[in-house]
């Protein structure tokens, strides 16, 4: 066949595929924006779910995600540092790295079930801590992998230069190597936060949901994503409108965090 013709056909097909893919994305975003924005009122942000707003849901979702971050960042970073700086080349490190990669693709509902058995069932009821733990478990492997990869990008000479000035290994790692990888690790943390803030499955039967405002993590805890799931199944128009509004706000939040993450990378490199 004529090579020029073949080239044109391939070009056409790949352009078409791209247009279809992006088309669906914009369709989703357009519907979401239209239905979402028209459903948002001032009271959406000032009232709790019980009165038809999402104030408690936003606070609850962020509280759980932030608490999970507080747990997952140190654990994940230290594990990543172990993998790259201490266990490099050892068998244990390669086993942990593989397990962590498997964990990263573990279905989130499975993590929810695990935490249910661990922290909900024995304590007779849904509670916010269980949600926090489930989200942290989702987050840890992402942070391990980011830390591991970002530390790998730090040139060996930098470690050697630190040692050559009379530094001990742990000081060089904490004061120089991690610092050199700071931007990459921060971005990884931001992106993993964006990932867990939109999670529903790990929260469905761990923290469940709460219509009222609470900051007590031993109770059932308000969640934006679980509420969207619930509200969308209710028959009344008001509930479904609120679900649209909540979906739009959640998407906007995730988008913002992602944009900030990209912005950080671009400005620091």
């Amino acid at each position: 066949m004529n090579r020029l013709l073949l080239n044109k056909i391939i070009l056409l097909l790949s352009t078409l595929s791209a247009v279809i893919g992006i088309g669906f994305l914009f369709w989703i975003l357009a519907t979401l924006s239209y239905k979402g924005i028209t459903s948002i009122h001032w009271t959406t942000f000032t009232k709790d779910l019980v009165e038809g707003g999402i104030r408690n849901l936003l606070v609850g979702q962020f509280t759980m995600a932030l608490m999970a971050t507080v747990v997952a960042v140190p654990v994940g970073m230290m594990a990543g540092i172990y993998l790259r700086e201490y266990g490099h080349g050892s068998k244990l490190a390669s086993i942990i790295r593989n397990l962590s990669d498997v964990m990263m693709s573990a279905p989130s509902i499975v993590i929810g079930v695990f935490v249910f058995a661990l922290l909900v069932d024995p304590f007779n009821g849904y509670n916010g801590w269980a949600g926090v733990v489930a989200l942290a478990i989702m987050m840890i492997p992402i942070i391990i992998s980011t830390t591991d990869n970002m530390l790998a990008l730090v040139p060996t000479e930098l470690r050697e230069a630190g040692m050559a000035l009379g530094g001990s290994k742990h000081k060089i790692i904490l004061q120089i190597v991690v610092r050199a990888a700071k931007v990459g690790i921060t971005t990884g943390v931001l992106l993993s936060f964006a990932r867990i803030i939109g999670e529903t499955a790990p929260l469905l039967f761990t923290s469940a949901n709460n219509q009222f405002f609470t900051m007590d993590l031993t109770e059932q805890f308000p969640s934006l994503t679980v509420s969207i799931y619930n509200l969308a199944t209710y028959p009344d128009e008001a509930s479904r409108e609120l679900a649209w509004a909540a979906s739009f706000i959640l998407t906007a939040i995730v988008l913002c965090i992602n944009l900030v993450g990209r912005f950080v990378i671009r400005n620091k490199k």
């Binding site: 000479e157 000035l165 009379g166 004061q175 610092r179 050199a180």
Partner: protein, 263 residues
């Protein structure tokens, strides 16, 4: 050759990398004279960097290497120590404060210019602010980079040019007042003007510190050094005063390398 003013001395030194069957360095005997510049030249893979990296035991970042023979370090107070006997991390830290190292690529730390120079000083236990400021200023002046940096000490060192970064690294090492500074091809990543500045600097600091420099550039070795060691395939093929090596080498191999017949 005078034997009484040595700062380091390698005796029958052999080195084998972890997992390797053959030794990378075989029975090297090499004296390093105090306040002189000793250059190590030789074709790629001859072991000159390996030798240099043994002299502050930076090899020990990676476990499993084998050392044989002796590397003696002579201190100002007349005492001597075989650095191959060191085992504890604290001893390594002390050794590296006495035997500093400059790398091929500049290695500024991701912190301010001031903190880069102060880093090693802080590690060595200096906490007093005025003393730190004094020593940093002195080191930057000593590395001929004070005028360019005095107004931007709090800016990140990563914003400097490659040549400036390399001089900063030298300042950082000089600040610790080491006995010996090891240079591992310090100019091969730099432009000619920066190279000139670094060479000038090395020639200046030799009044305070003994220098060992590995270089690919034979002109550099002949311009800069007092002694030259020519290495070939893990052996020290010839060692003598630089003039002798370049004008009147004893070995045919040395002559062939210097005249560019191989390498």
């Amino acid at each position: 050759m005078a034997k009484n003013n040595l700062v380091m001395e390698l005796k029958d030194f052999s080195f084998t990398y972890a997992g390797a069957e053959k030794a990378s360095l075989k029975k090297i005997n090499l004296p390093i004279e105090e306040n002189k510049i000793t250059a190590m030249i030789g074709p790629s893979g001859c072991g000159k960097s390996t030798l240099l990296r043994a002299m502050n035991r930076i090899h020990d970042l990676y476990p499993g290497n084998t050392y044989e023979g002796k590397i003696n370090l002579y201190r100002a107070d007349g005492s001597k120590q075989n650095i191959l006997e060191l085992k504890k991390e604290n001893d390594f830290i002390k050794l590296r404060q006495e035997v500093g190292m400059i790398f091929q690529k500049p290695t500024p730390f991701p912190m301010s210019i001031f903190d880069n120079v102060a880093y090693g000083l802080r590690l060595s236990g200096i906490k007093n602010k005025t003393e730190l400021q004094d020593r940093v200023e002195k080191a930057l002046k000593g590395a001929a980079i004070w005028d360019e940096t005095k107004d931007r000490l709090n800016e990140s060192a990563l914003g400097m040019s490659g040549g400036q970064q390399q001089r900063l690294c030298i300042a950082r090492a000089v600040a610790l007042k080491p006995r010996v500074l090891l240079f591992d091809e310090p100019t091969s990543a730099l432009d000619p003007i920066s190279t000139g500045a670094i060479e000038e600097l090395i020639a200046e600091i030799k009044s305070e510190v003994s220098v060992v420099i590995v270089t690919h550039n034979m002109q550099q070795a002949s311009r800069l050094s007092d002694y030259t060691a020519f290495m070939y395939l893990g052996d020290l093929a010839e060692f003598d005063k630089t003039d002798t090596i370049f004008l009147n080498p004893k070995e045919k191999l040395t002559e062939d390398y210097i005249t560019g017949r191989f390498g």
